[in-house]
Structures are given as C-alpha cells and as structure tokens.
Subunit: 365 residues, 2 copies
C-alpha cells in the first residue's frame, strides 16, 4: 500500500526547497503519495491562525509530514502585523512548529550533523532535543506572578520591584525525561552510536540536575554497551566546535537542544545542510533546520541539501532505509564533487542546479 | 602608588598557568604588587568552604583579582566527597566563582574572542554575559514548589505528579538588564565595536522577550552610532561558527552567555586561549575560561595563553593599556610563529616552553 506524506511547504524558501527536492521520490521510484497542505505566515495573515483546521485534518490521514520552512515572529510583532479586519478578535500567535510538536506529542527532535563538506575531520553525531517541556513549557511572564513572589527574594528586584521583571519556568518531568532518554539510547543502538552524552548544567542548577541525573542513569543502566555521560552544556558547545568526532548522541533539554543543534548545523557547514526529524506519539514531521529566509526568496539561492537530507530521514522512518541511504549518498557526492555548490557553500549554482546534480547522481547510481 | 593584585591560583592547572604567566608583570616592569590567597577545592575539603574568610578579607585590600582555575562539582557530589569530620555540619557547596560574582556584584562577564591561530578569517568580538540573574538566580527545585503548583498545568505532569518533576526560575529584572545593556554599549564604544547584538529567544519566550527588548531598545537609543539588533540565541550559536566576523559585542542572559562564550572560545581555537573578566560593583576579577583540568596536572601540558590574555585584560583595567597591548601582541606572535605551541594547538611544547617564548618576545619588543 502507498504511504501518504503531507507536504507543508510553508513560507519563503520552504516552497523552493520542496519543489527542488521532492523529485527525489520519483527518482527513487517509491510507493509514496504526496498530499499538500497549508501552514505558516500566509495562513496567519488570512485567518489569524498559522495552522488551519484543514491542515490538522489532513495530518490525521498521513504517515508522515514534510515541512518546508516557517516564518516565526515574536508574538507582539506577529499580532501587530495582523490585518485590521482580524485585529481585536483575540487571535494569539503560536509558532506553527511548536503547535505541531505539542499537539502531536512529538517529544524528540533529532538533528543529525555529519561530515559533508570536506573541511575538518570526519564525524557523525545526532543532537536529540526534548521538544515539549523545559524552558519551552509555556510559563513565561512579564512581572513576577503573585504566586511566585514569596519565593523570589533576589537583590536585583530591590530597585524597581517585582513588576519590573520577567520570569520563565523551566519545567522538567520524570515522564518527559524518561521518554527522552529512552529515545536517545534507542536511537544510539539503531544508528550505531556508542556514546550518549546528556548536556546539562548540574553544577549550577543542582536540584534539577540531580533529578535529571538519576533518571538518565536509570535509563543508561538498561544499555550497558553504550557509554553514557553527563557534561556541562557550555563545554559541549565548545567541544562541538573543536572536536565533534568525540560525540555520538547528545541529548538535551529543549532550549539547550535548540542551541546545540543549530551549533551542530554550523559545524556541519551551515543551515543549508542541516536536516531534522520530530518523533513521538503522533505522526512524525521532518524539516530542514533553516528558516524561511525571506531575503532569499525568488533568487534561486537557497540550498536544497537540508531538504534532501530531511527527505532521507523521512524515508528511513517510513521503512525505506536503502533509499534513504542512496539519497544521502547522492547529496554527499554532489557536495564533495564541488561542481555545483550553492552560494552558502562558496559556489554560484542555483537551487535547481544543485538539485539537478543530486537527481542526476540518483539516476546514475 | 603600587596597584595591588590578589592572585588566587585555585585548583589543578590554575597554579601552573599562574606560575608560567605571572613573570610577564616583571617583564613589563609594572608597579604592581602581588598578594596570594587560597580558593577552591582544597579549601572546601579542609574547611567546608571553598572561599575562606581570609580570602574575602584580602579581596577588600586589592585593586583586582587574578584567578587561576576552579574545580566545580555538582553540589551533591561535592558534599558527598567532604571528609567524615566535616560531614553533618551543614556545609553547603556553592561554586567559588559564583560566590565571587554574586558577593562582589560583578554583573558583567566579558569574554573576548579573536583571531589568534591563523585558521579562518580574522575577526574580533566580545561576549558579554550577565552574571547575577537569569537561570543562575538560584531558584532551582526538585518537585514543583507548592506555591506555584496552581500555575503549572502541563500535560507531562499527569503521569507522575508534581513531585516527580523539577523546576527552575529564570529571573530577569529591569535593574539587571539596564546595567547589563549599558555596560555592553559602553564596552562597544571603548573597544571600537560598531554592533551590539542581544542574543535572546523572543519568538518562544515572548513575555520576557518583549520585556528585555524594550529595555535593550531604550539603552540602544542612547548610542545612535552603534548598530543594535536582537537575534535568536540559536542563530547566534550557528553564526558564531560560520561567520564570527559579523559580530561586535554579543550580550546575553547568564546561561545563554555561558554557552555562547564557551562556544566563542572554541571558535578562537579552544579554551587554552580564551580569557575573561568579571566587572561590576566590587573589585573585578580576571580568569581564563578553562577549568582546572585535573587530568592534565603535573604534566606541563596546560596552555598558559588564556592566562596571559587574562592578565592583559587585568592590565587594561588597572590603566596599563599600552602594556596590555604589548602582552597581547607577544601572545599573538608566539602563536603565529607556531614554533612552541602546546599540545591543544597541535604542538608539543610544554607550558613553560610556550610561556618562555611569550616572555622572550616581551623582552625583545
Ligand atoms: C521557530 C522556533 C520556534 C524553533 C524553535 O526554537 O524550536 C526553531 O528555532 C527550531 O529550532 O525549530
Ligand atoms: C564553573 C561554572 C559555575 C561557571 C559558570 O557556569 O559560570 C563556568 O562554566 C564559567 O563559565 O565560568
């Protein structure tokens, strides 16, 4: 039976990289049916909701989602930009990717980073980022909420008082951490990594650090063949730059994982290359780590490599591991050959030219 | 009149890099008197306090502090390692650097990163990290405190309840942000940077992002000659790897700044090179960003460059700008010549051999 994939090109260069990379599915001759849907900024400006009801309905009917890119703006700005007709109707802007992750229970954001460009030493690793709690749990306040005031006696509050402050709760739960760590070790087993590093900050956030450590160690004990360690997140950031080859899986709280995975994308050669996958309870979605890059739109400048590699992750998830590997090889070879690189990699080829190179390599395999 | 500097070599390689680099003060023939004091792990194991009262007293008498390195362990581990005679006396371990920053009101942690090794493009920037609040404010809990349970209704809490969770408050105050941003723009003016970038996450932490943005913009308005922008912290992490030359000053909350500054140290060529300064109300302290590296002790392996560069920052602070520049030049030339690099930079020279090279260059200037 055909697998169904919902394609949500989204904003800006999202559409361009979808158009350029999706022909890979044909080249690989796969029994996949594509369905299209809407998401993002245009939906927000038209309906006051960046994820339309029709898109949620289609999500129910598919085996995986492929997302292009999303324009994400700070809430105040997004709400101020709503057209006059939609103002005052209490439309609240919530980033569509966060909506997807939360509503679909996609708790594990996998962001692989590996040697592609020919600079530096070969390495291969994955950042696995918690996707539903931590600093992203949604408890962010201007002013210290009444309930919290008795707890907070910080000298910096003396001058202006508790209204002239902000406060964010970083929430971590046993439920969230157990499933995250379980996922990370399973990912390591399945992808042949021999080390899982939890990037945290236990020497400063001691209570939450102790709590997470206990859970991490309990899960690690079930995987005696895998080296498990806890490192300070700042040190991990540094080592990712200087010695990425030492890592296998790096697992982290939502905000730490957001930073480390972008960083790992930089080490890989930039966001033009970095793919990602979001797994969990509901249907998984796959997307390049890059944004919608409004300044690049229509210039045939975007690098479709991250989208090709996100499609490869999607194929692996749908059970087409061999085709996933073929696609990854084609991208790697197109980059190594260096003949038609996009401008982010120092070349002058357009989006389509590079994509054609990948497709030609696929056909020639 | 002589300036007084308190030298706190601290733990591990801290002593080694102090010994190797402090002769620079003699070579520069400066009217500086050195006083020595104790800090760190040995003090903790002896007295149950990593910053002895005698050290606090000496701090009162000096113009600046030079710190070597500190062994910082998670609280539980540190307290478990206390000798039996000190157990049960309610000794609470608090990292000595955090004690210094908080008690001396050293709110601005300056971590410069610049082109030294000859790899990549020339660049020069400073990360300025808030040092007294944010996620480091000290509100970290195992379990959700009773007072704030009514606020927290997260689905991840359903399975195991509010005791099987942890919670950390990220506190930011108008007082803290105003002085931080003011410091960052002044630093830009004094060091010839034309851009100040606030690395935050306003598209996710919207209320605190709005709050900080207002304060940042109000301060920026006083510096019309400097380009001021707010960027997502994840994007800043990526760009630091791929295009550090675009930045001038990056200013950030405590935890974000901790990560970004270690990362910037990696971009510089590793922690063997990265210096730092902590400024604020009380006496400023200067230290290499690296830790005490217990595994390296006694092997003549530590790179003293970060300590030389920290001394250069200290000299600038004490009003010896010309000598600071001379010392920086000597370090840069010793690294560029490549003849006696330490092993972190791919060489085989010992701590002292590299230091001697720097001292010889100083004498020869
Ligand atoms: C757009 C934004 C909300 C998102 C995030 O922070 O998770 C993005 O940076 C990402 O990493 O997918
Ligand atoms: C030792 C630790 C508490 C400290 C910090 O996190 O501030 C260190 O990482 C630093 O950056 O100076």
């Amino acid at each position: 039976m055909n697998k169904k994939v919902l394609v949500l090109p989204g904003d800006g260069i999202g559409k361009e990289v979808c158009d350029a990379a999706l022909p890979a599915l044909e080249a690989l001759d796969l029994p996949i049916e594509l369905i299209y849907g809407e998401i993002g900024w245009e939906c927000w400006m038209r309906d006051g909701d960046p994820v339309p009801a029709a898109t949620w309905q289609r999500i129910e009917q598919v085996d995986a989602i492929l997302l292009g890119a999303i324009t994400s703006k700070p809430k105040k700005q997004a709400e101020a930009e709503l057209p006059p007709a939609l103002q005052g109707q209490n439309h609240r802007y919530v980033s569509p990717v966060i909506q997807l992750r939360q509503r679909l229970g996609l708790f594990a954001n996998v962001r692989p980073s590996f040697y592609l460009t020919g600079n530096g030493k070969p390495y291969r690793m994955s950042v696995i980022r918690e996707n539903t709690e931590g600093l992203y749990a949604g408890y962010d306040y201007r002013g210290i909420p009444e309930a919290i005031r008795p707890l907070v006696k910080h000298p910096n509050l003396e001058r202006y008082g508790a209204d002239e402050a902000s406060c964010t709760l970083r929430l971590q739960t046993r439920f969230g951490l157990e499933r995250l760590f379980g996922f990370a070790f399973e990912h390591a087993v399945q992808h042949g990594f021999d080390r899982v590093t939890f990037a945290d900050k236990p020497n400063v956030m001691r209570e939450s650090g102790d709590f997470a450590q206990e859970i991490f160690e309990a899960v690690a004990a079930r995987y005696p063949g895998i080296r498990a360690d806890i490192q300070n997140v700042d040190a991990v950031a540094l080592w990712l730059v200087t010695r990425p080859e030492q890592f296998g899986v790096i697992v982290a709280e939502n905000m730490f994982g957001d930073i480390l995975s972008d960083l790992a994308g930089g080490v890989m050669g930039g966001l033009g290359l970095a793919p990602s996958a979001n797994y969990g309870e509901g249907v998984a979605y796959f997307e390049p780590v890059h944004g919608s890059a409004p300044g690049m739109v229509g210039k045939d400048k975007a690098n479709p490599a991250a989208m090709f590699l996100s499609i490869a992750m999607l194929l692996e998830h749908l059970g087409f591991a061999r085709e996933a590997a073929r696609l990854q090889d084609a991208v790697r070879n197109a980059i190594r050959s260096g003949a038609h690189l996009t401008y982010d990699l120092g070349g002058s080829a357009g989006t389509r030219r590079f994509a054609d190179e990948v497709l030609a390599l696929l056909h020639g395999q």
